[in-house]
Symmetry: C2
Subunit: 261 residues, 2 copies
């Protein structure tokens, strides 16, 4: 358990999970979980005057490179959840942000850690963190930020399931980039429906490598690893555009406790 | 202007439009507009004890067959809108429901009329409206409900743009059917990005004919009609699975008043 970031300001907001943010079993989708987390972080930034326009006035933008997501229980349709976020720490090149999602009884539903970099808008290269863009969060300046687990290196085999997804106009959000939460819809859609209905997400490691663009057709691939002794199953995913890797993801699942018809 | 349904109970709720409900220009998507309207109607139903489970206890479910959507201005990112809904009237086979979406100043952003039928769950056939399922809305029993405009009959020609869309796991919502607001993402995605960026929706006529299923690949086709004298443009759309028509849509657009980069 890290104690980094204890002095960072925590921002909280509530969100009611709507039917159209849920799958057919009434669980919020993984894309929804990330969408509402990022919404809270944008609201914190706006409240501190660190709007997208202000960040862009430095010629840069924030880009997430990794998520590690612990899910105790997915929020369900019509639940009002509380999202807490803080910009915990930064070093010269990386910022570390944490999110907690709780139900109405204060029980933890999910805990998300993430690594962010500043990208120059013109050169699309990572630049050094600009202190003026992190100190308002009371982010802690540190030498080393926590390392997030690297997803398993994906290797296609004869069991690999592969599906193509064309990036659509409405995959691009007001930040003018493909909303990378949509990657999760592609990644998970490759799995058989029966698997998705019979399993709950327990942990997700995500590493983004290259951005996808409108009009691209990405290929999402998945391998299902052997069932572990404790009954959990791990799936290993990759999204590519041609030979270029866009993101790699590892997910650990447990058999669902609420079996579906 | 119809005066039908004046005695029906109006239900109101607010919704904050999030970044992930908007396109790259910050306008709410058409799918979002329908999603938040239907959410309000489900909340009204729940508040009256007419939950999905209660409706299903009669062996039936509500299915929308037509929308006519007037858009004065699409809600924008971070706006909090008010959605008002009423179950205005019904005759032996059809129910007529209206929605109003307003901004914080009470200006009308959109007005939506819709026709709904009751479908038997077992036989997937339309059945007579069950009064117990509509009288709690103070719906007016009428002989004739307003006729909504029929979309233009779609006819493919040499200029037709056609794109395939595979129905995904996350297109199915907790009602266990493909969320038909997703049809709009397919329908509009067929249009060139430059067209979508340079035009605002003014009016949409939708007619659903057959349901699409998970795993289907639908084909969305669009024709752009000649520009009218007043500068508006009409597009004619169809979604098909093989030779079976699933829905037909006509959209009138005006050149956007906020041109985008």
């Amino acid at each position: 358990m890290t104690t980094i970031g204890e002095n960072a300001t925590i921002y909280r907001e509530q969100h009611r999970v709507t039917y159209y943010e849920c799958d057919q079993t009434g669980r919020a989708t993984l894309a929804t979980l990330i969408n509402i987390a990022v919404l809270a972080s944008e609201d914190q930034s706006d409240a501190l005057g660190l709007t997208t326009a202000h960040v862009q006035s430095y010629g840069v933008g924030w880009v997430v490179t990794q998520y590690a997501i612990d899910v105790t229980r997915m929020p369900r349709q019509d639940e009002t959840v509380t999202i807490a976020v803080r910009g915990s720490a930064y070093n010269p090149y990386f910022a570390f942000r944490e999110f907690w999602i709780q139900d109405e009884q204060g029980e933890q539903l999910a805990y998300i850690t993430s690594i962010w970099v500043l990208m120059s808008q013109e050169k699309r290269k990572i630049v050094k963190i600009i202190p003026a863009l992190v100190t308002p969060y009371h982010s802690e300046a540190v030498k080393r930020i926590p390392r997030l687990p690297r997803p398993i290196h994906f290797e296609a085999d004869t069991q690999t399931i592969s599906k193509p997804y064309r990036v659509r106009f409405f995959d691009i959000d007001p930040n003018r980039h493909v909303n990378n939460a949509h990657y999760f819809d592609w990644l998970l859609d490759t799995l058989p429906a029966a698997f998705l209905l019979q399993h709950d997400l327990q942990h997700v490691d995500v590493r983004y490598e290259n951005e996808v663009q409108y009009g691209h057709t990405v290929t999402a691939q998945v391998n299902q690893l052997p069932v572990a002794e404790d009954g959990t199953v791990t799936t290993s995913h990759v999204i590519q555009v041609g030979e270029e890797k866009c993101c790699e993801v590892t997910i650990r699942w447990q058999p669902t406790t609420q079996p579906q018809a």
